[in-house]
């Protein structure tokens, strides 16, 4: 949460006292509680609306299901034919919301700051796919789920948004951002910690 009168954001893993990085057997897991997140809904078939969004935040919304676009410092994740999540730098979500609200005022659309609804677990390394596959029914082979791909799915029965942000060929291996509702964060962190072994 950015500046303002509200209390500072607190990680749902705050009780772990900072022990929120695990590196073991070719897998690295770390919490990134700080990314700003904005939910955006509107008519993807309306070119005028899409142009207004582009003019406001300078990113093209992905049109293909379960894909993403990136124009630093923003990413846009496809969630539904009429719904996206914009991910931005910590503290900038207020500005993104203000820009979007100005752009969509004349349209049937909605803009909601959902920054604190979810935290992000960043899972990376050569073993990351196998680890995810322990609790996820998605086809996680690189030919089916690769760089930039997005999925809303179940991980160990928790509803998550999965986003691959770095290619498998990268030195650090593939990187997956797992967006988890904060009320599930402690549970899913425990599950991942156990699954890493």
């Amino acid at each position: 949460m950015g500046s303002g009168s509200m209390a500072d954001a607190r990680s749902p893993l705050a009780h772990l006292d900072g022990a929120t990085v695990i590196e073991r057997d070719g897998v690295r897991l770390a919490e990134n509680p700080d990314a700003g997140k904005v939910n955006l809904r509107g008519d993807a078939g309306d070119a005028v609306w899409l142009a207004a969004i582009q003019a406001a935040v300078e990113i093209d919304l992905p049109q293909a299901p379960n894909t993403s676009t990136e124009t630093p410092p923003l990413s846009a994740l496809w969630l539904a034919p009429d719904e996206w999540m914009l991910v931005c730098a910590d503290g900038s979500e207020g500005d993104v919301v203000a820009s979007l609200e100005g752009a969509v005022a004349e349209f049937h659309a909605s803009v909601v700051d959902v920054t604190d609804a979810r935290t992000v677990f960043r899972l990376s390394g050569a073993g990351a796919r196998n680890l995810l596959a322990k609790g996820c029914a998605l086809d996680l082979h690189p030919r089916a789920f690769g760089l930039g791909d997005v999925a809303q799915t179940m991980l160990a029965k928790a509803a998550v948004i999965l986003h691959q942000t770095t290619d498998d060929a990268d030195e650090a291996g593939p990187v997956f951002d797992i967006y988890v509702p904060r009320s599930f964060a402690d549970y899913l962190w425990s599950w991942l910690t156990d699954a890493i072994g």
Partner: protein, 96 residues
Amino acid sequence: MLLIPCPWCGERDVHEFHCGGEAHITRPAGADTIDDAAWADYLFMRQNPKGLYYERWNHAHGCRKWFHVVRDTVSDQILAVYQMDEAPPDIPGRSS
């Protein structure tokens, strides 16, 4: 594992979905004047066939969109998927 083909997300595990029951049931006109039997028929009576079933599904843990599925209740084979505003398709060689 039963895979349901979402029109947007492709094949996903059935656990990501919510089944909305039989499709193409029209709310009767004049709900304030029809008799209890007709209203109960609308609310509760379903075909429950052994064979082709036209039903609604929602990708609850994915894109959250509703769509139609034609499923064989004997084999769980899915024979067609179509949008909410589309008419039920004929399945060649099969009668519903």
